[in-house]
């Protein structure tokens, strides 16, 4: 581990020399850090301290299982029930439901709103999250009025519902990185669709809340992709390990 990125525990003192000091930009604190006025910056979780002098930001990198809603996160949620003007959705087990207004879909008006059954999976964005309030979701971009791929995933009634798989939050975040292979070290999806997997055809929706939806014409492919994702996450596989895993699974499930 590089000495510039030490592992910290809650309440430990951070070496002042590590705190980025940009002359103009304000210091930005990411997850896992708290500021005790006037000058103390203290970690609140156990993880690796990462600093970015260019952006004048710092945060703690760690993995966990419980999702805490943050605005603009993409999440995979499940409809619990409908109220007069919104759906109540489940973000993670045993937590208070989030609301998804009936009007937060592309082209939805008071008269034409999408009808979703309880239990349907929906890919959505967190619009509003605040520790004092239940989170609010949206399936439409407020700026463009377009869905941009958000909305209900799969059609269980027609027998093509796909399936959702649970992964750790850290793994979901790595899958969501713009360059997940280079930065996050996950190439398993690319491999499945590419040479190693023999060009499997499937679609995915990765939720920051640790749920990944996989859809495909063939149930075999869905199971294969799901298993590949979960085993990569649990086994902590590197790129080479992922390649071997994909090859093995494809051989096994043929």
């Amino acid at each position: 581990m590089a000495t510039g990125h030490p592992i910290v525990l809650p309440g430990e003192t951070i070496d002042p020399s590590l705190i980025p000091s940009h002359p103009k930009n304000p210091l930005r604190l990411g997850p896992g850090l708290r500021h005790i006025p006037p000058t103390d910056i203290v970690p609140t979780v156990a993880g690796q301290l990462i600093t970015n002098p260019a952006k004048n930001s710092m945060w703690i990198e760690y993995n966990s299982n419980r999702y805490i809603p943050t605005p603009s996160d993409l999440i995979l949620t499940q409809i619990l029930r409908s109220t007069t003007d919104a759906y109540l959705c489940l973000l993670s087990p045993h937590t208070a439901p989030a609301t998804l207004p009936h009007l937060a879909f592309e082209g939805a008006t008071k008269k034409t709103r999408p009808v979703l059954q309880p239990g349907q999976l929906v890919y959505a964005r967190v619009a509003l999250a605040n520790k004092h309030m239940d989170a609010e979701l949206e399936c439409v971009s407020a700026a463009t009025g377009k869905a941009d791929g958000l909305g209900p995933v799969g059609n269980p009634a027609a027998g093509s519902g796909g399936c959702a798989f649970d992964v750790s939050l850290g793994f979901a975040r790595r899958l969501l990185m713009a360059r997940s292979r280079a930065e996050g070290g996950v190439g398993v999806l690319e491999m499945l669709a590419g040479e190693e997997g023999g060009g499997l055809a499937f679609e995915t929706a990765v939720g920051r809340n640790g749920r990944v939806w996989v859809g495909s014409e063939s149930a075999r492919t869905v199971v294969l992709v799901g298993r590949a994702l979960q085993e990569t996450d649990r086994g902590g596989l590197g790129l080479e390990g992922q390649r071997r895993l994909v090859r093995r699974l494809v051989r096994e499930m043929r």
Binding site: M1, H5, I7, L9, P10, G11, E12, G32, R34, T44, V45, A46, G47, Q48, E61, Y62, N63, S64, N65, R66, I68, P93, H94, T95, A96, K131, H132, G170, R174, G184, G185, V186, G236, G238
Partner: protein, 253 residues
């Protein structure tokens, strides 16, 4: 009889809870699970902070007043460490399951009404802290705990760290102390007869075990370890456990 084995811990042992830890030290083996923040029941809901619930489950028999007492002690200590204000109206649930505790070979215990040994307290604290860290619950600081018994033997007074059940029985007083990582005294619970002087000695002994200054940089750890190989350094143990967990989590970096 002195079971001063080095503490052992494994994190994330329960795949279906948010955080978990299995900890064994001095003959005690415990598993803890942490779930949270989750939805709190109406009666537990607090408008401005998270409710911390601690449940202690004995290995055999039903829990009694003894367990409730330990739960309330742990609850008030952990609520001090967890940043409860971050999660209003929610619940952070800590469940501690005792798996194994050292037995006193010289008596036949009645077990249907389980009565926990007081000396299990440090293991409870330690396991709960590890499980909370594994769940990534935001905390103000970490904590370490130890038990010290004062034994009068042949007119001489002796401090026994991590006493066995037999030693607890013969001790004139038993003390459990927990310190935060900022060297603050978090919990002090005593049983039996003791003088103020004795308590001061106990305090110093416990502090030595719990609060040995963590070697901050470049391997001063080795030097310290060489000086005093007998006593376990709880803080160093906590740190190395978490370091290996974080390193495993971030293997892709």
């Amino acid at each position: 009889m002195t079971a001063t084995t080095a503490p052992k811990a494994a994190l994330g042992v329960l795949p279906r809870s948010d955080g978990s830890a299995k900890y064994s030290h001095a003959g005690y083996t415990l598993t803890a699970s942490v779930n949270g923040p989750i939805e709190a029941q109406r009666r537990d809901e607090h408008a401005y902070e998270a409710h911390v619930e601690v449940i202690v489950r004995p290995a055999a028999g039903v829990g009694g007043t003894r367990e409730r007492h330990l739960e309330s002690l742990l609850q008030s200590s952990l609520a001090q460490l967890i940043l409860v204000k971050n999660f209003p109206r929610s619940l952070i649930q800590v469940v501690l399951q005792i798996e194994d505790s050292p037995e006193n070979d010289y008596v036949n215990t009645k077990l249907v009404q389980a009565s926990l040994n007081f000396a299990i307290m440090p293991a409870l604290v330690q396991t709960a802290i590890l499980a909370l860290l594994s769940a990534g619950v935001p905390m103000r600081a970490t904590a370490t705990a130890t038990a010290v018994a004062v034994v009068h033997q042949d007119g001489a007074k002796k401090m026994v760290v991590d006493p066995s059940p037999r030693e607890v029985e013969t001790a004139s007083s038993v003390h459990v102390l927990a310190f935060t990582s900022h060297n603050g005294l978090l919990l002090a619970e005593s049983e039996g007869d003791f003088t103020v002087g004795e308590w001061d000695d106990v305090y110093e002994t416990a502090k030595e075990i719990c609060c040995r200054s963590t070697p901050a940089k470049e391997g001063t750890a080795m030097v310290l370890d060489d000086e005093e190989p007998s006593a376990t350094d709880m803080r160093q143990f906590l740190r190395s456990t978490m370091e290996s967990k974080v390193a495993a989590d971030l293997h892709w970096k």
